[in-house]
């Protein structure tokens, strides 16, 4: 075991409830250890490099970098994993509370935290729980529709120290409420910084609630980003997510969705864009636990250099979940001879009368299309870029919010830092 578990002074240690949670997280991480090549859930995403590194638990910082987003939004800002009140801009009349404050003063949170994300099956969730302190509690009351997006911004100042930080966000939408949450993970400074961001989200959608959850992972190219989102959906609720993974040497975005009552619908879309020696992993697990529940997944990757894309997608349909529809499609564009994608779709269907599909395709840029553009004077690199933009367009246009969709498109078009 390396030094991921350290004795650092955390806030709120006087609360026995919190100490117990941290203790159980710590024990669960010790028990499972680092996922190895033999761990099925991590068989394509190798953590060797991560394991051999020394990490320092991030200390509070007073420096903050203001991150501007090209759309109007509330901001919940973190700097090197610490909540930053000065750069944040929290809404009035909606509960958006720094996690430690919510843990200590809002007992309601206890109904939600550490309930969906399982420490015994997910070592990084256990690690996250061992350091439980930073993050945000968002609670949208019944019938409230927040039009302005809530942006959770995690900024890391890259340095030669390998920081480790853990964020835990709890997002609760009560009946008939709606919100848009944007997660933006970015950095400045040393692009070769090898920090580890370990993020856990627990999301609860009550009947008829509607959450749009957009995420951009744009970490430093030697950094590591491991994220797990667990989503619980009640009757006729709707979860629409999109994740762009772009930076990071090892990036994993894992989503568990439990469709617990009729009419619940979920949409998981993701794109990854990578080169170098990176491994970017998208893992999904959709559990249809009630009749007439619906899930749609579209994941598209663009891989060049020696990079590796991973997609593991599981759809589970419980015996009672009749009339359910689940579909999944993964596509990848391979731009070099050494680019690789590993795909593992899994369907577990225990009910009759369901519609379920999965598909995977990978290919190269179309030579005829490239020639056509070049024959009109467009240079080869520019022509390739146009084709890549077109390839990703199918997925970025699925983002309902026009301004956020434009912002994400621009990020996919930027050259690597």
């Amino acid at each position: 075991m390396n030094n991921l578990l350290q004795n650092v002074k955390l806030l709120g240690s006087e609360s026995p409830w919190l100490s117990r949670l941290r203790q159980s997280g710590s024990s669960a991480f010790k028990e499972q250890g680092f996922p190895s090549a033999k761990t099925e859930a991590w068989k394509y995403t190798k953590l060797r490099e991560l394991k051999s590194k020394d990490f320092i638990i991030s200390q509070t910082t007073s420096d903050t970098t203001a991150i501007e987003l090209p759309f109007d939004c509330y901001k919940i800002c973190f700097e090197n994993g610490w909540f930053c009140p000065s750069s944040s801009n929290l809404p009035q009349g909606v509960e958006v509370i720094p996690l430690i404050e919510a843990i200590l003063f809002h007992p309601e949170l206890h109904n939600y935290i550490c309930k969906l994300a399982n420490i015994n099956t997910h070592p990084f969730v256990a690690l996250n729980q061992a350091y439980l302190q930073e993050g945000v509690f968002i609670k949208i009351e019944k019938n409230v529709n927040i039009k302005k997006p809530l942006a959770i911004i995690s900024h890391t100042e890259g340095s030669d120290i390998n920081l480790l930080f853990n964020l835990r966000n709890i997002i609760v939408l009560d009946e008939n409420s709606a919100a848009t949450v944007v997660e933006y993970h970015t950095y400045s400074g040393d692009t070769k910084s090898g920090y580890l961001a370990n993020i856990v989200n627990e999301i609860y959608l009550a009947s008829n609630a509607n959450l749009q959850h957009y995420k951009v992972q744009d970490e430093a190219f030697k950094a590591n980003h491991i994220a797990f989102s667990a989503v619980s959906q009640n009757r006729c609720s709707k979860y629409q997510s999109f994740c762009l993974q772009r930076g990071a040497n090892i990036g994993r975005n894992e989503t568990l969705v439990q469709l617990k009552d009729e009419g619940a619908e979920t949409e998981i879309n993701a794109a990854y864009l990578m080169d170098g020696w990176a491994t970017l992993d998208t893992t999904t697990n959709v559990e249809h636990l009630a009749p007439h529940t619906y899930s749609h997944q579209l994941i598209k990757g663009v891989v060049s250099g020696n990079a590796k894309g991973v997609f593991q997608g599981k759809i589970h349909i419980a015996p009672n979940a009749i009339g359910t529809e689940g579909n999944q499609l993964h596509k990848a564009l391979l731009l070099s001879d050494n680019a690789e994608v590993d795909v593992k779709p899994e369907l577990e269907i225990y009910a009759d009368d369901v519609k379920c599909s999965h598909g995977a395709a990978s290919g190269e840029l179309d030579e005829e299309q490239l020639f056509y553009m070049r024959s009109r004077g467009i240079g080869i690199e520019e022509a390739k870029q146009l084709l890549i933009d077109a390839y990703l367009d199918e997925i970025t246009t699925k983002i309902d919010n026009e301004k956020i969709s434009q912002w994400i498109k621009l990020i996919t078009q930027e050259n690597r830092k």
Binding site: F371, M373, S375, G377, I378, L386, L387, A390
Partner: protein, 252 residues
């Protein structure tokens, strides 16, 4: 005083080990319109692909000079920037790339090469609308993905539009009339004729004489089995229409 624009000398070329072009010679001067007529399988498309630098063809001997430069050493984009344009028989569909975006990139790539200032979006759209109107191409069509869902006639009109905004010095029209009804043929050939300015040269590749009633060539060449077997004036096309290619194919 004639200035040679394109000079093809004793060209031998093919695909893989199969020789398709066997001793082809042709010189096209500035301002001339040549028609190349021949039966299916004569190697007409191979020739136009080689002129534009498409990969997958090998030239075993001979030379091609364009404006005095060695064309075979240039990439497809360099050839286009030097002024070569191929109106394709089967224009490629590119889902997700709006026609206007594609055209703007093309126009500005060529302008940049020619040391002209790049057009901004406003200037470009204005120019595109004006040229589009002449060819019956509306704003809706240029917003759509390139050639996706376009009818055969629309694709050919778009090829003509591209030619009129890219202003090549040498245009190759590969079976420009295939798939066109008589009205569309009129629109396309009016567009092509508008580009005949005494400086610009064209090579019209076709196996029917029909198109040549509208785009009247200065010279007609019969192309069979990889080389030109007969050359003449525009009347040669009429003669071919009457007699067919049989006598030339037999000759080989």
């Amino acid at each position: 005083m004639t200035t040679p624009l394109l000079e093809i000398e004793d060209l031998y070329a093919g695909v893989c080990d199969k020789e398709i072009i066997k001793g082809f010679n042709l010189t096209i001067n500035e301002g001339e319109v040549h028609a190349l007529m021949g039966p299916n399988g004569a190697g007409k498309s191979t020739l136009s692909n080689i002129l534009c630098g498409k990969e997958g063809y090998s030239v075993t001997s001979g030379s091609i000079r364009f404006k005095g430069k060695n064309l075979l050493a240039m990439s497809p984009e360099e050839r286009a920037r030097e002024g070569i344009f191929l109106a394709m028989q089967y224009p490629v569909e590119i889902p997700g790339v709006p026609t206007s975006t594609f055209l703007k990139h093309a126009v500005n790539s060529i302008r940049k090469y020619q040391n002209l200032p790049e057009l901004d979006t406003m200037e470009f759209i204005k120019m595109l609308r004006e040229e589009g109107r002449k060819l019956g191409i509306d704003a809706d069509m240029i917003k759509r993905s390139l050639n996706v869902g376009f009818s055969g006639g629309e694709k050919k009109r778009l090829e003509t539009l591209q030619m009129s905004i890219l202003k090549p010095s040498f245009a190759i029209l590969d079976e420009a009339d295939s798939g066109l009804d008589i009205d569309a043929l009129k629109v396309v050939s009016d567009g092509v004729n508008a580009l005949r300015d005494g400086k610009r040269s064209m090579l019209v590749i076709t196996h029917y004489q029909r198109l040549l009633n509208y785009v009247v060539p200065d010279f007609v060449h019969v192309y069979a089995d990889g080389k030109i077997v007969k050359s003449g004036g525009k009347d040669l096309a009429l003669e071919l229409e009457e007699k067919g290619y049989a006598e030339f194919v037999k000759e080989k």
